[in-house]
């Protein structure tokens, strides 16, 4: 089993198969991250495609001995930011959030616990700013350490703690709000 640094060397010497082997462990993680950031699967695939192109193109810039995982996540998060910026995604997210809130109330399958939890958490995530969302997803979704997250997002670990703290606070508040709303509905 070759190490990531060796696979990088192979790709740089023209072995296309090595590129697939190099990225295989991250195919789910990258797509999930992009999906949570953009809120749309098709868009997430486009973001990942853009990231893959950049990874291949700028592979020579990757410094050996450093974490390849952090490097490709940084590229993916930056591509997601670009995508959000280009399409004024923030406005779209507010709209889609409204749709979620509305549909959740009238969905006949709302009774199903999984769907309900899914809708709640989706709503919670949509309320975060892109930076908070990226920090939260990297730390609590992908399991990166604070230090790794600060490298990926190119900011200080203090900033990461602040964003993470805010994100968790917002999520908790949303959770409580939704629970409270559900309790009211049940009482009726």
């Amino acid at each position: 089993m070759k190490s990531e640094d060796e696979l990088v060397e192979d790709v740089l010497s023209g072995d296309h198969r090595a590129f697939e082997l190099l990225l295989q462990p991250y195919r789910q993680g990258l797509l999930s991250m992009a999906y949570r950031m953009t809120g749309n699967l098709e868009e997430a695939k486009e973001v990942c495609q853009e990231a893959l192109i950049k990874v291949y193109r700028y592979l020579r810039r990757f410094k050996k001995g450093r974490s390849f995982k952090s490097w490709i996540y940084r590229i993916t998060v930056n591509s997601a930011y670009d995508s959000l910026r280009k399409k004024k995604k923030d406005e779209y997210l507010v709209e889609s959030q409204k749709k979620i809130d509305f549909s959740a109330g009238h969905d006949p399958e709302k009774q199903l616990l999984n769907r309900e939890i899914k809708a709640k958490i989706e709503t919670c995530l949509q309320n975060l700013s892109p930076k908070e969302k990226a920090t939260f997803l990297l730390r609590d979704g992908e399991g990166f350490s604070i230090q790794e997250a600060s490298e990926i997002l190119e900011c200080s670990s203090i900033s990461i703690r602040t964003h993470l703290s805010r994100a968790r606070k917002k999520i908790r508040e949303q959770f409580e709000k939704i629970n409270f709303a559900d309790a009211k509905e049940v009482r009726r």
Partner: protein, 174 residues
């Protein structure tokens, strides 16, 4: 530790990102304060549920889609041959250097008039010596019979000296 400070740290405590030095104080407070304890439990619950869902609801590519995406990434492109040279200095250094340069230029601008006066100003020591030398070259001539006019450009330092005889006729001097 008071409630306000504890509540500020609760989101990080739920994810075990609190320094060891503070954990004991936090735990002691949580045992004594039911409101903070309740908030802490609420953080734990929301975080646990979200993490659980994020782990369960992971998106994946279809195999052919993934292969196509990789092919597109490789297609018609090669990894950059020579990486661009990265800026070796930190931004702070660059800003400090620019700041120092501005200060130095400002000081130079303030000092400059005195320098120029010293080198080119009328009545300066240098100018008087040169003028005296010109007169010394023609000792046979009477000083009263020759008048000199000098023009000095302040910008370029160019000097033009005219010698006129007693009839105010221009005289050529070597």
């Amino acid at each position: 530790m008071n409630c306000k400070k504890v509540r500020r740290l609760l989101p990080l405590m739920a994810g075990s990102e609190i320094p060891k030095s503070k954990i004991l104080a936090l735990k002691t407070h949580l045992e004594e304060c039911p409101k903070c304890r309740q908030e802490y439990d609420s953080y734990n619950l929301s975080l646990e549920k979200t993490k659980e869902w994020l782990a369960k609801d992971r998106k994946d590519w279809e195999d052919n889609e993934w292969k196509q995406a990789l092919r597109r990434a490789i297609k018609d492109k090669k990894p950059e041959v020579s990486p661009p040279v990265s800026w070796p200095f930190k931004k702070v250094w660059a800003y400090s250097f620019i700041g120092m340069l501005v200060v130095a230029l400002t000081l130079l601008f303030i000092i400059r008039p005195s320098i120029t006066q010293k080198n080119m100003g009328l009545g300066s020591e240098k100018f008087t010596q040169e003028q005296a030398q010109l007169f010394r070259r023609s000792p046979e001539e009477s000083e009263q019979e020759v008048v000199s006019m000098t023009l000095v450009s302040k910008e370029t330092g160019l000097k033009i000296v005219w010698f006129l005889n007693k009839n105010f006729e221009l005289e050529v001097k070597e």
